[in-house]
Amino acid sequence: MSVADFPTLTADAIAARVRQGTVTPAEMVRASFERGRSVGAGRDALNIVLWSDEDAAVKEAETLSSQFAGASKGGRLAGVPIAVKDNIATLGLPTTCASKILAGYISPYEATAITRLREEGAIVVSKTNCDEFAMGSSTENSAYGPTRNPVDIRRVPGGSSGGSAAAVAAGIVPIALGSETGGSVRQPAAFCGIVGVKPTYGRVSRYGLVAFASSLDHISAFARNVDDAALTLEVMAGVDPRDSTSADLPVPSYREQFVSPVTMAKPLNGVTVGVPREYFPDSLDAGIRKLCDRALDSLRSLGATVRDVSLPHTSLAIPVYYIIAPAEASSNLARFDGVRYGQRIASGDGLRSMYDATRSAGFGPEVTRRILLGTYVLSAGYYDAYYRKAQEVRALITGDFTSVFADGVDVLFTPTTPTTAFAIGSISDPYEMYLSDIFTATANLAGVPAMSMPVGRVEGLPVGGQLIADHFAEPKMFRVAYALEQALGDEAHR
């Protein structure tokens, strides 16, 4: 293997070669940085990376190598360079949430998910750009400028985890971490032509993920194929005493569920795939519809039973989401007040003025808008009409999923997004931008696992197909995704 092959290598392949001793972690780290330079990952081009330190990463890789001894040649991610969205705490590295209010903040602790990846040999090579505090669907809301889509630099990579998605799509790293609150990994995965997976709420610890909306937030993963996505989730998943909402359930091997159509003609025999009609409105882009139909044909040919189902409250997801998420954000972001960490703007007029000055200077327009919206829907006189009502409708949306899965559906298949990647600067109306999440926010509201995978391209732009499963049914979801990926082959990328 040549280091020149790095941009096409999967995480599993890199770790295998490191364990075999044919490449070193330091070589892989250097290859990652070389790839970043060649594609223009910096501020003046794709603007993927907010922080990186090649010397430090190489040193960490060499330290890792020195720890390999005897039979122990490294873990499941030995020597794998990874990128991490800048709202996930990484010990001793900056964590800014792409916000001016956290400029210069060095995290004094680390997310459990990162610790688990490091324990298996992964090396953090960069912190990636994102919408400020993960509030956005395009990565245009970053205080450090928009990230550009490597597939077409005139277009957004999606968001809010656009930097991590672009890093994987550009071949800088084989896997990356993002976070989801309403689709912030699946939507950019679809726009960039890669795999993005959001686990069941509670499957991966949220400890160290800077809170946006705690009942909706999930640490999630990007990869270039289903196998690497499953591997990454396997490593991160599991109960964590530092997150009381993490589930104390065993973590199965997702990869053991894989059955290739090469080895079995009908690997999805006995699997029922539901197609919710609400996700295929008349207004859906014709090219996206055609590619979804092709994917459904592939699922049938793999042995799956495909049938129409209904999730009748789907259209209410965006109004519900944009009440609950800002409400929780208005509480969570109260901690950024210039007192304990982050930026402080001294106004010279006392504590209250310092709060006002720090927060108004530190937060960008979208974060400000959502904090105000969240404060409004929680305020006296409006709580019942907005917040309580939204929580009730959220229960109905969750009930939709419960019903279809109880009725024998194993996984749902939908388009991930209603459009392909849109041009940078083309959407200025906040609510129009919010509609980018229309097919993804439901899974966050219900807490069910979901993933996006490439199913083809429309006019050269990637299209994602979404699989959604019942709570903790990731094994079924990955089994279907892997078989579909194998069946589509190169067609998924053209």
Binding site: V339, S347, K389, Y431
Partner: protein, 131 residues
């Protein structure tokens, strides 16, 4: 339920956000634009939700309680490495300039005495409070 300029000023105060007058018109328009899309929820019948089908769905049923204790969180650096201003292990903040404060007994103490409450001397340290 249209949002007014006064509403935005009120919620900005609650949220400790300084909103400049030049932004007020835009914020009123944007918030009203967004909230107009939320009105559809009022038409949804949620009367059938019961204690068996709670408003929080799976989350209310599955979120466990933990014991009211916790171990130390391993920190990479001392308070000084991330806090804006620290002295003697305490975080320094500006004095409360426009509010009276209450003691535990309920007595209201003028602002000028705030620093003394936390151990400082007003004359020595007129612009800061130690938290």
């Amino acid at each position: 339920m249209a949002v007014t300029h006064d509403d935005v000023r009120h919620i900005a105060g609650l949220a400790r956000l300084g909103v400049s007058p030049s932004r007020l018109d835009d914020l009123v328009r944007e918030l009203n634009g967004i909230l107009a899309h939320m009105e559809v929820l009022a038409q949804v019948n949620t009367a059938e939700l019961t204690s068996e089908n709670p408003a929080m769905g799976m989350l209310a049923a599955s979120t466990p309680l933990r014991s009211d204790s916790s171990g130390p969180i391993p920190m990479f650096g001392p308070l000084e490495s991330f806090a804006p201003e620290v002295r003697d292990g305490f975080i320094i903040v500006p004095r409360l300039a426009s509010h009276a404060v209450s003691t535990e007994s309920g007595d209201v103490i003028p602002d000028d005495d705030t620093a003394a409450l936390s151990g400082g001397e007003p004359d020595d340290d007129p612009g800061e409070t130690i938290l």
